[in-house]
């Protein structure tokens, strides 16, 4: 059996994390199933759930602060979420299951560095960034950069993700997300595409972020450039996206299938925001 400690101060937490046989846990949805399957290579789980501020969810004039302990359920029910980051709020409120959403954290989806994730492409579309804290200070890393590494590889020894800064998007910015999985509920996406554009077209601020397009969830710059040029460039953006895609093959689908579905999901997501961008029915 693995030991479990619940430090009540950040200093205590960093102390417990010295050495390689301890691991951080907040929501536990990645770590604890692995523990249950006896796949954890650790002696000590350090739970951050008692740390001051770990559950903070607040905003100011430029951004929201989503601390490490904020669950998907908490976030989806927070009124400002639906107002400023509606797509993120909606997806956070419907993925997985109620029980998972009551435990799993918004930040955890990024931190654990999963390849299949709905939340990460959407966070990339909203330009979120993580605040990484250690005994020696803090640094910030964009979600985009963090999630280019599998697992927690981006973190150095002794670092904890304290939370996430979620900038308030530009006023006319809209994000749509479309995803595909074999089942309608409770499944990770095989592919998912988040498209963000500003409605004052052409848009300077565009995002196309994909899970299932490549190994890690990531943005496609070429598609973003195309879409920035205008709604008539959608087909070209889709072509760029499919060319850019280099999907994995596994039991959920071949590379060809994923590439095709990336194109379809992009088309659907883009159609929604471009339509709203052009003021045609919302």
């Amino acid at each position: 059996m693995v030991l479990y400690a619940k430090p009540s101060s950040w200093v205590e937490a960093f102390e417990l994390l010295r050495g390689d046989s301890s691991v951080v846990k907040v929501g536990g949805c990645d770590l604890l199933p692995r523990y249950r399957q006896h796949m954890l290579d650790t002696n000590l789980i350090v739970g951050l759930n008692l740390l001051p501020g770990v559950g903070d969810l607040r905003m100011d004039s430029s951004m929201a602060w989503v601390a490490a302990g904020v669950t998907l359920g908490d976030f989806s029910e927070w009124a400002p979420a639906s107002e400023y980051w509606p797509t993120l709020a909606a997806v956070a409120g419907t993925i997985a299951s109620p029980a998972i959403r009551n435990a799993g954290t918004v930040v955890g989806n990024v931190v654990q560095g999963w390849t299949r994730t709905d939340i990460v492409p959407i966070l990339q579309a909203y330009d979120a960034r993580l605040v990484v804290r250690s005994a020696h200070g803090e640094r910030k890393v964009s979600v985009e950069e963090y999630s280019s590494t599998l697992g927690t590889g981006e973190l150095r020894s002794g670092e904890i993700v304290a939370g996430m800064e979620l900038p308030i998007p530009p006023p006319e910015y809209r994000v749509a997300y479309r995803r595909f999985s074999l089942r309608k509920m409770a499944s990770l996406p095989v592919v998912g595409v988040a498209v963000g554009v500003e409605s004052n077209y052409p848009s300077r601020h565009t995002r196309v972020s994909v899970t299932g397009g490549r190994q890690m969830p990531t943005r496609c710059g070429e598609a973003e450039l195309e879409i920035a040029r205008g709604a008539e460039r959608l087909a070209e953006a889709s072509a760029q996206l499919c060319k850019w895609a280099d999907p994995v093959e596994d039991c959920h689908g071949s590379a060809a299938f994923r590439r095709h579905m990336v194109g379809v999901m992009f088309g659907r997501a883009a159609a929604e925001v471009v339509r709203s961008a052009e003021g045609v029915d919302s």
């Binding site: 074999l182 060809a256 299938f257």
Partner: protein, 768 residues
């Protein structure tokens, strides 16, 4: 005898509440994993990492030294083989391993963590052998021989014929008429090969067993097994013991669907118990073990060739069926037989030729699944039937009306079919699907018909006696795994005696007390055990009348029984209750009211091994017709099933709600399996999706609207005319969906599952 009468029944035919509902809903129902005994040890198993190899060396010395370890067992410690009718499967691998996940060493310790840690300290050296995964490749003489000692296995040669010196453990043959002449006389020939995939039964309860051998040498096994007597006999035979030395108790089972019929994890618990000095040993499978190394519904390939006349009537049909049975036989030989003889479908076909091959491969074992091969056969023959109808520009429902077997026809095995509700099911389905009106724009639809036999010969028995308070104890080995057996058997008991339902106390599934019953499988229990219960009930009824007549001082034929009381007909005041009758009066010449009931269907016959023919190879058939309406997304390949109509001939519907929910559940499994499920293996024979994260089983959001309908074509021998229906609902769904997709999108997919990727490839939308 169980004739049909017009009188009103008080309990039969009503949707009475489930007698075990309260236990299940309050969480007090005990499952095998809830059995905790004093001194219990916990098991862990080391399994083969390779698909095929010789065991060179096993070193358990480090494991044995771990504090808390109480028993370590290898195959050589318990070199027994189980599994009727082909006893090929060892408790633990003896000299070689044949699939990834095969158990090699078992450990029992004071707690699970200790057992697991000890298992990691075991060293096993293998000499890897070439493995074969494709059953077609396995059939060739050049393929690696998976069971070189096959001829030494004890087998029941009356039931199947192996192909010597090969991996083909059974070759089933059916020969009727002259197919070559038939094809020569045909106006048109159609051919198709249809593949059903491997998928997992996935009951929510993982297999659980607790085994204990006491000081007298008596083995007691609590297990989530569907068929306690079947398993007791198998274990006893394997160990060389009399059956009474093996007591098997099945508490409530958390879903079976066939994966809990026959020995699965129990032999390991038993092997450890034999070395545990009287301490009980608990072995509950992890979900990963259930998915990757226990059993699957294995893949089956059916090739059909049909010759028809211009009007579509069938002159000849030839079928070749290849059953991938995995590394061990399990139900392979029987599945190959019972499935293969259904391969040509419930149609009027004069000339038939069927070859069914059951083939070993180095993969996870294929076991029985709800439908016992008919799901796979129906996918083939019903897809094929639609292909023919469309080619001939015939309405697919009208075509079936023409070619379906009718009362008095002879079927493939030579049986003259009686009480055949196929046409009734088809008509009811067509009406519920509004077949005469066009399907909504953008949708496709299809209706299929299937027939599934129930295993024979097949005996059941029960005991019934009256308690001091006038209630009745019914002792029956039939297990309850959600199909509602406890309720329906209680209904039959109550009705046959004249008791209130709440006065029936059912004691179930303990071979020390509940008398022999072949199994809870094959939709056989309502019919077989139901008849046994009916017989016992009638006997108890007679004894009650005899006592009551003495008490009330009238002759027995002036009495009637209702609601656990006996009354002089027309004189309500002259009555007595069952509890009055129960008391043994001073000076009475009779003892307690006790009865037994025993039933074996009359005159079922065996199969001729050369022709596959037998005039009555089953006591009854399950007839079904299912209809599906779908639309297909041309961009994603997703199939949306808008509704499924599922019609079943119950003979007599003993409990409408119970039958309806069985239909709903069976349809849901079949729909999920057809669309999104597959047990997938990599090139090393390892299951790559052994968890609910990667095994895509339907959630509450994935099941379409289901409309169950029961029709009644009574069976002369069934209790109150009832047959069985539990397996009907799984049989036709895959075919119906494939046919509806053909209707909607004009593509014919002959491989399951019908995933979006497969649909897109069929539509030639994907490159590469």
């Amino acid at each position: 005898m169980t004739g049909i009468s017009d009188r009103d029944f008080s309990i039969i035919g009503r949707s009475v509440r489930q007698v075990d509902g309260a236990e299940k809903l309050t969480g007090t129902a005990v499952f095998a994993g809830d059995v905790y005994l004093h001194g219990m040890l916990f098991a862990a198993v080391l399994r083969s990492p390779i698909a095929h190899g010789l065991i060179q060396r096993i070193d358990v010395s480090r494991a044995e030294r771990v504090k808390g370890v109480k028993a370590v067992v290898t195959g050589n410690d318990c070199p027994f083989r189980y599994n009727p009718p082909l006893r090929d499967q060892p408790f633990l691998a003896i000299d070689r391993v044949r699939y990834v996940g095969e158990p090699v060493v078992a450990i029992a310790a004071e707690d699970e963590e200790t057992a697991r840690r000890a298992a990691l300290l075991v060293e096993v050296d293998y000499e890897e052998l070439p493995a074969v995964f494709d059953p077609l490749a396995a059939m060739s003489k050049e393929a690696p021989r998976i069971h070189p000692d096959f001829d030494n296995y004890v087998r029941d040669s009356r039931l199947f014929t192996p192909v010597p010196q090969s991996n083909i453990l059974s070759h089933f043959k059916l020969r009727k008429g002259n197919v070559d002449a038939g094809f020569a006389a045909a106006d048109r020939i159609f051919e198709g090969t249809y593949r059903s995939h491997a998928f997992n039964h996935a009951p929510l309860e993982p297999h659980a067993a607790v085994a204990q051998v006491d000081r007298t040498g008596q083995l007691t096994l609590w297990a989530s097994t569907q068929s306690p007597w079947f398993v007791a006999e198998d274990l006893a035979k394997a160990l060389g013991w009399p059956v009474h030395r093996v007591r098997v108790i099945s508490p409530y089972i958390g879903g079976g669907f066939g994966i809990k019929h026959g020995l699965k994890n129990e032999p390991i618990a038993v092997a450890l118990a034999l070395k545990a000095n009287g301490r009980p040993v608990r072995f509950v499978l992890s979900r990963e073990e259930v998915f990757s190394s226990t059993a699957v519904r294995g893949a089956v390939t059916v090739s059909l060739k049909t010759g028809v006349r211009e009007d579509g009537s069938i002159v000849a049909r030839k079928a070749e069926v290849v059953w991938d049975t995995g590394a061990y036989a399990d139900v392979g030989p029987l599945l190959c037989r019972n499935g293969s003889y259904s391969a040509t479908g419930p149609y009027r076909i004069e000339n038939q030729w069927i070859d069914g091959y059951c083939v070993y491969t180095n993969k996870i074992v294929s076991s029985a699944f709800r439908g016992y091969g008919v799901m796979e056969m129906a996918f083939a023959y019903e897809s094929h039937t639609d292909e023919i109808a469309r080619a001939l520009s015939l309405d697919t429902v009208e075509y079936r009306r023409r070619i379906l077997l009718r009362e008095g026809d002879e079927n493939a095995t030579g049986e003259v079919v009686r009480s055949i509700g196929l046409r009734e099911c088809l008509d009811a389905c067509a009406e519920a699907m509004d077949w005469d009106n066009p399907v909504p724009e953008g949708r496709g639809r299809a209706i299929v018909t299937t027939a599934k036999s129930s295993v024979a010969p097949s005996g059941s028995s029960c005991f019934m006696y009256m308690n001091d308070d006038g209630s009745l104890t019914l002792m029956s080995s039939t297990t309850e795994m959600g199909q509602g057996s406890r309720t329906v058997l209680s209904q039959i008991a109550a009705e046959s005696v004249g008791a209130r339902l709440e006065d029936i106390r059912l004691r179930a599934s303990d071979t020390a007390f509940t008398p022999p019953d072949r199994s809870t499988s094959s939709s056989r229990s309502t019919f077989n055990m139901g008849n046994a219960v009916f017989t016992a009930g009638q006997d108890v009824r007679k004894q009650i009348l005899s006592r009551a007549s003495a008490l009330l001082e009238v002759s027995p034929d002036e009495l009637e029984i209702c609601n656990s009381s006996v009354q002089v007909r027309g004189v309500p005041a002259a009555c007595c209750s069952f509890s009055d009758v129960a008391k043994v009066l001073p000076g009475a010449t009779s003892g307690p009211i006790t009865a037994h009931g025993s039933f074996v269907p009359k005159e079922t016959t065996s199969f001729d091994l050369e022709t596959g023919r037998g005039v009555r190879i089953t006591a009854f058939w399950l007839y079904s017709s299912q209809g599906v309406e779908v639309s297909v997304d041309g961009d994603t390949g997703e199939i949306t099933v808008h509704k499924i109509v599922s019609v079943h001939d119950t003979g007599r519907t003993l409990n409408p709600s119970a039958c309806a929910v069985q239909a709903e559940g069976g349809v849901a499994i079949a729909c999920s399996a057809a669309l999104t499920e597959e047990t997938i293996l990599d090139e090393h024979g390892r299951v790559v999706n052994p968890s609910f994260m990667d095994y895509e089983m339907a959630t509450a959001g994935d099941v379409p609207e289901i409309f169950p309908i029961m029709v009644e074509v009574p069976h002369a021998e069934g209790p109150y005319g009832a047959k069985g229906m539990g397996e009907g609902p799984t049989t036709g769904v895959a075919a119906a969906i494939a046919n509806a997709v053909a209707d909607a999108a004009d593509i014919r997919v002959r491989d399951l599952p019908l995933t979006p990727e497969r649909i897109l490839r069929s539509m030639q939308v994907l490159e590469g």
